[in-house]
């Protein structure tokens, strides 16, 4: 059974940019690539980045921020009243 993840979550637009990575601090450990449930992190040419449309997919769990020992990932919850809504959480 393959569960389609698209459309399983309701979201309110207007989050603004709430995750960023500082590649000068990043040590390429790759833990953010593994831990992201929604698989939103990428590695290309020794650079780590988050996909452009992460705002419409992110579950705001902050795992990428927490797991980053280098302190390279900045995370702040989205603007009040926006982002993922858990109706059955």
């Amino acid at each position: 059974m393959k569960i389609e993840l698209e459309n399983l979550n309701k979201r309110i637009a207007g989050t603004g940019n709430f995750i960023s990575v500082d590649n000068n601090k990043c040590n390429r450990c790759g833990r953010c690539l593994i831990i992201c449930i929604m698989n939103l992190w990428r590695k290309k040419d020794d650079t780590i980045y988050i996909v452009d449309d992460y705002q419409s997919k992110c579950l705001e769990c902050a795992s990428c921020y927490q797991v980053c020992e280098a302190g390279a990932i900045n995370f702040q919850y989205p603007v009040g009243g926006t982002g993922v809504v858990y109706e059955k959480g």
């Binding site: 059974m1 389609e4 992201c36 902050a62 797991v67 919850y77 989205p78 009040g80 109706e87 959480g89």
Partner: protein, 468 residues
Amino acid sequence: MNTYDIIIVGAGPGGSIAAKTAAEMGLKTVFFERGRKPGEKNSSGCGLGPRMWKDFEIMKELTPEKCPSMRAGVAARNYFVNKEDIVAGYIMARPTESVSYEPAKSWITMNIYRSEFDPWISEFATDAGAELKTSTLIVDLIKENGKVCGVIDEKGEKYRASIVIGADGVISTVAVKSGLRTKWAQNQVTLTTQYDFQAPPEKIDDIMGDEALAVWWGATFPASYQVFFRDGFHQGLGNWMTWWDKNPLFYLNKVVNLKYYQRLLKILEAKPRELQAHLLPWLDYPHNTHTDGVILIGDAGGFPCPLEAEGIYPAMLTGKIAAEVATEAISSGDVSKAVLHKFDEMWQKTSIGEEFEAGYELWNIWKALPFSPKETMSWFVPMIMELLGGIFDWSQPHALRIRQIASQIKSYMPKATPFIMKYVFPLVAKIFEDDLDKLMDPKKIMTILPKLLELLPQKKRKRGGKEK
């Protein structure tokens, strides 16, 4: 300028109880919620235990009209899943004869969706006079002479108060900006992911009966919990940050794709409805809970139960205590760290404090058992199944079967014995304190064990019970 006596950042169950308590004690109180309403940013945290009804009068007002998802159950099921991803057996258990709190004999948890529970509980705070500001994210603290005296929201609006209570969950802005911590250590926080499945209420009742929840103990995935609501259920699992070697959903999908599980989904007519993920602090002990003008409660303070990570009750209890301590400090005119230390003294006297007295041992054994599938559950599951199911075999004489089972169990001992020494004995010694501490001394056990073995009959008896 917005001036209050007390500011509470977060309107979860802990923040709401803190706001209610503070407002009832006459403080000008405001509490903030980043969602459009309380509860819409929460996932998990769904099981309410009977002690909440004992300690919080308001719980008696919780009804299906207020919280349509509520479903209480009296039984819990434990599934054991082996290395081949087969459900090798299960135990369904109801409260046992030693349960002392009378209501806990008729139900073990009341399950609710937080999206319904949190708005309900926040109303007790607003009814008491606390002001709730929704869709407002607090991003910083106001400090004067190095001391916290208010908060700043994302629009730059400032709110001042003598005390700020951090009820803002696992990634707590209040904790970080007040300098109480920079970030959790990786072994202090778990990542949990879960599906919500919808299912017709009558199917859940017919098939699950009065079961409230289940734990799926796996030899290839971390223990996965299943919690039943009126018209749906959560299936989730988690582990400490350092454990993951693959996307956590890989492990959760393993559970969902068990043949047994697929059958269950089919007969329950269940369909995936929502995907959720959250971090959950899971500590052996809460440290750094307060500083000048700041107290951290609930998840922000690291209060979830060290064994099962139950979070709502500890959040509500620490919220109440924090508001009481804050009120007293404000009226005395001294909100320094030294005065707010009373917060620690008070929660340590409660059942949460008692829980954390054996916090390290509980946390340690749990981490090593259900959350270490490859190292521990890979032998634990077949060992349990030998004990539970080994006798059901009609291919051999029973005496032979018992010898086979005993021999099989013996083969797990090289792994089981060090585990018992390392994790079980320290826990038992801690819980029973001094007297058992001596009894459980591994050296002493090793000297007694051979003597006990000598007591066993050495000769086999002949048929009919006569001596050889």
